[in-house]
């Protein structure tokens, strides 16, 4: 690189030299771009300046101290006493800058919020485990506060939220009646009926992701909307499920008696099913088929018997291994052949329905009033609990998929029996929903939630509003228990807007709805939300092409088409089936 920097730079020099005239040097001003990882700015400096002066210029515009700046050019670190010429920095070249941050402690909370704000799909299992270890360390504190007392009265003694989830899961699974009830719940049904949501939930599990990498067939299967849909329908119909399970068991036992088939089965199991089962159940306890494997492996050298194996497979529905009955919700529809795909399908479907059951588990508990109230109370008292709740992986993925698909969230809300009789409330919900979801996602909100003082301040505001409402009803038009309803359904999706927590108490008491108040609250919400609205993909845009095709085929009802497409995830033939099924004959 030529050091003699007489390169044809010069448009800047004439005015300067003519103005200054007799200055000894003619320092040409060169434009150098300074680039940090985050931004880049242009600087005009005399060619002959040294690095020290350059840094002073930079520190002014980057608002850092000159000591914090490290300049790098062509792989060399520029020292203060060097000159720009010495390093060959000419006009138009780019110098890299790193601003050293003096205090590391400042970075830690930033990193923490970054970690909690990061997307679930990107989260790696190590970060998940670190979150859970931090929750474990807090468990003693939580227990000490006597929190979750209400839930323990329901028979759950969880000390942190993920344990709570798994315990709820276990309880639910051990009682098939409850299962049926939950399945009937329209909230659940609407969630289950969206293949997109299901897929996202499944994909968000880091173990699933690892499994998918190792076995790409699984991802093909997950992405096939037909399979998803059929499985979801299966999940809704427990009788059909049981029958499928029986078929599969029979097919399996047939396979076993085929010469050589036993080994194939075993290989299949260890390669595919075991890790999936383990992944699905590591929270929930052992693997129901583990005993089978160990029994068999001890006699593994024995030639597979030529007769059909008449011993019943271990009962996954056994109460002590209660949680494994979550696997009953699996079975793929396509597994009738008992093929490899069938088995891996079933195993993965176990996973898939393990997840929606967490959703209803949440929903089921949350609709239990005294539980909600004290839970909310504990949440406000203990911000850590809130944070744990928010960072629980299922929660995260659910929230994320909700925010990406506001229609789905709106639908979910609407189907909620709390809102059933109240179209006005539904409207309000719909409007608020978007802002609300955005708000939930922002890391500012998360940090505000975990800041107990902030929460208390919000509580005070709300209480003040309440008092005002009772004392001077004319001043603020009414108090909206719709907010309370909002609060209680807000909780299943992670947390209520804190302002609505105490309102939940009053909502249960009063019954009237005053729409005027809605506006006031909406303004408040928007002020809180900070107006950072992303562009979400409108399903209409997404399915544009399919809609056109449906129109061409003669399905002219735009609304119905759109709904069918959304429900089937863009699969035209399935959408047509749906449409045909719903048309009056």
């Amino acid at each position: 690189m030529s050091e003699s920097a007489e390169s044809p730079v010069g448009a800047h020099t004439p005015p300067e030299s003519s103005a200054q005239g007799s200055t000894a040097a003619e320092p040409r001003i060169i434009k150098v771009t300074v680039k940090t990882p985050k931004e880049k700015k242009e600087f005009a400096v005399p060619e002959t300046s040294n690095v020290q002066q350059f840094k002073e210029e930079i520190s002014k515009r980057f608002k850092s101290h000159a000591d914090q700046l490290v300049l790098i050019f062509a792989g060399k670190i520029l020292k203060d006493q060097d000159t720009l010429i010495q390093h060959g920095i000419h006009d138009g070249l780019t110098v890299h800058l790193v601003i050293k941050t003096q205090n590391r402690s400042q970075d830690h909370p930033a990193q923490q919020t970054h970690a909690t704000g990061s997307t679930a799909t990107a989260s790696i299992s190590s970060s998940n485990t670190s979150t859970s270890t931090s929750t474990n360390s807090n468990s003693s504190g939580l227990g000490g506060l006597g929190s979750l007392a209400s839930l323990s009265s329901l028979g759950l003694n969880a000390s942190n939220f993920s344990e709570l989830q798994s315990q709820m899961q276990q309880q639910l699974m051990s009682n098939p009646e409850v299962m049926v009830q939950i399945m009937e719940n329209p909230f659940v049904q609407s969630m289950l009926s969206s293949p997109d949501l299901m897929r996202q939930l499944i994909m968000a599990n880091p173990q699933m992701q690892q499994l998918i990498q190792r076995n790409p067939e699984i991802s093909h299967m997950l992405n096939n909307p037909d399979i998803m849909r059929q499985t979801l329908e299966l999940a809704r119909n427990p009788a059909m499920m049981q029958e499928m399970m029986r078929n599969q068991d029979r097919a399996l036992s047939n396979l076993e008696s085929i010469p050589g088939g036993y080994n194939a089965l075993r290989r299949m199991y260890t390669d595919i099913q075991e890790p999936m089962l383990n992944a699905a159940q590591e929270q929930f306890g052992g693997n129901p088929f583990a005993s089978l494997v160990s029994n068999v492996s001890s006699g593994g050298d024995i030639q597979p018997s030529r007769t059909e194996n008449r011993d019943p497979l271990p009962n996954p529905w056994a109460p002590q291994s209660s949680s494994q009955s979550s696997t009953t919700a699996s079975t793929s529809s396509e597994s009738s052949g008992g093929s490899n795909i069938g088995n891996s399908t079933s195993a993965s479907m176990r996973q898939s329905s393990a997840i929606p059951n967490l959703g209803p588990g949440l929903g089921g508990v949350m609709f239990n009033t005294p539980g909600i109230q004290s839970l909310l109370q504990q949440i406000t008292e203990n911000p850590q609990l809130m944070q744990n709740m928010l960072s629980a992986p299922y929660m995260r993925s659910m929230m994320q998929s909700l925010s990406q698909n506001p229609d789905l969230a709106a639908q979910m809300m609407l189907n909620n029996p709390l809102f059933a009789g109240n179209p006005q409330l539904q409207e309000q919900m719909r409007q608020q929903l978007h802002t609300y979801l955005q708000q939930m996602q922002s890391p500012d909100t998360l940090s505000a939630m975990s800041n107990s003082r902030a929460m208390q301040a919000l509580l005070q505001i709300q209480q003040g509003l309440q008092t005002l409402a009772t004392e001077a009803p004319g001043l603020i038009p009414g108090f909206n228990p719709g907010l309370g309803g909002f609060g209680s359904t807000g909780v299943p999706t992670g947390s209520a807007v804190p302002s609505s927590i105490p309102s939940e108490n009053t909502s249960l008491a009063s019954g009237a709805i005053e729409p005027g108040h809605q506006q006031f609250v909406q303004q408040m919400l928007q002020a809180l939300a900070g107006a950072n609205v992303q562009q979400l993909q409108n399903p209409e845009v997404r399915f544009q092409q399919q809609l056109e095709q449906l129109n061409a085929m003669g399905f002219l009802n735009h609304e119905a088409n759109l709904q069918a497409l959304i429900a089937t995830g863009g699969d035209i033939s399935a959408a047509i089936e749906r449409l045909l099924g719903s048309q009056p004959s």
Binding site: P37, I72, T101, A122
Partner: protein
């Protein structure tokens, strides 16, 4: 009195993801005439031209790369892709490890977050290019960085583009890059 600053070698590892398949398939898919093309480098270089190369930067005895999981690092050659198919020497840098890690952290928060990964416009090669320029002032070989535009210029590439945009490549074997406590 200027003490010679320590010089750290910087290398670029290029991995041919398709192991030669791309070479055979691309004339069919992209509509390019088969036959010898100017330029050398053999398989990996052609893989880069066919759009199936993954690159990473080796410095301070660590390998750094960018994929849909964000910036990651591992021991050199430690990803699931195994040893590199081609090694390009980028020169030396004075940037210390500490400084480099800080730089990477800032990058990870600004330009190279995990969600900003795009297989065509903002991929591992973009990252490698950026880091190479920071460390040595030199860019990585142009045939690697130019490949997205090449693929996109073909009608086939344009047709596939919406699908490919959603592909997230995650290279197993790396650790997510975190700022505190430094990196082993």
């Amino acid at each position: 009195m200027a003490e010679p600053a320590a010089l750290h070698p910087v290398q670029l590892y290029v991995y041919d993801l398709s192991k030669g398949m791309a070479r055979r398939l691309s004339p069919v898919m992209l509509g390019e005439a088969p036959g010898p093309r100017g330029g050398g480098g053999g398989g990996p270089a052609r893989a880069a031209r066919r759009g199936s190369a993954h690159t990473s930067i080796i410095v301070h005895k660590d390998e750094f790369f960018f994929d849909s999981g964000g910036i990651s690092s591992c021991a050199p050659g430690g990803t699931l892709l195994g040893p590199p198919d081609l090694v390009v020497d980028l020169g030396n840098t004075e940037v210390t490890e500490e400084l480099f890690l800080e730089y990477l952290s800032s990058l990870g928060e600004s330009m190279f977050r995990s969600e900003s990964y795009n297989i065509f416009e903002h991929n591992c090669n973009t990252f490698s290019n950026e880091v190479a320029q920071f460390l040595t002032g030199r860019k990585i070989p142009s045939y690697i960085t130019d490949l997205p535009s090449e693929v996109l210029a073909t009608p086939f590439g344009q047709a596939l583009r919406p699908l490919l945009d959603t592909i997230q490549i995650q290279t197993p074997g790396g650790n997510a890059f975190s700022r505190h406590n430094g990196q082993s």
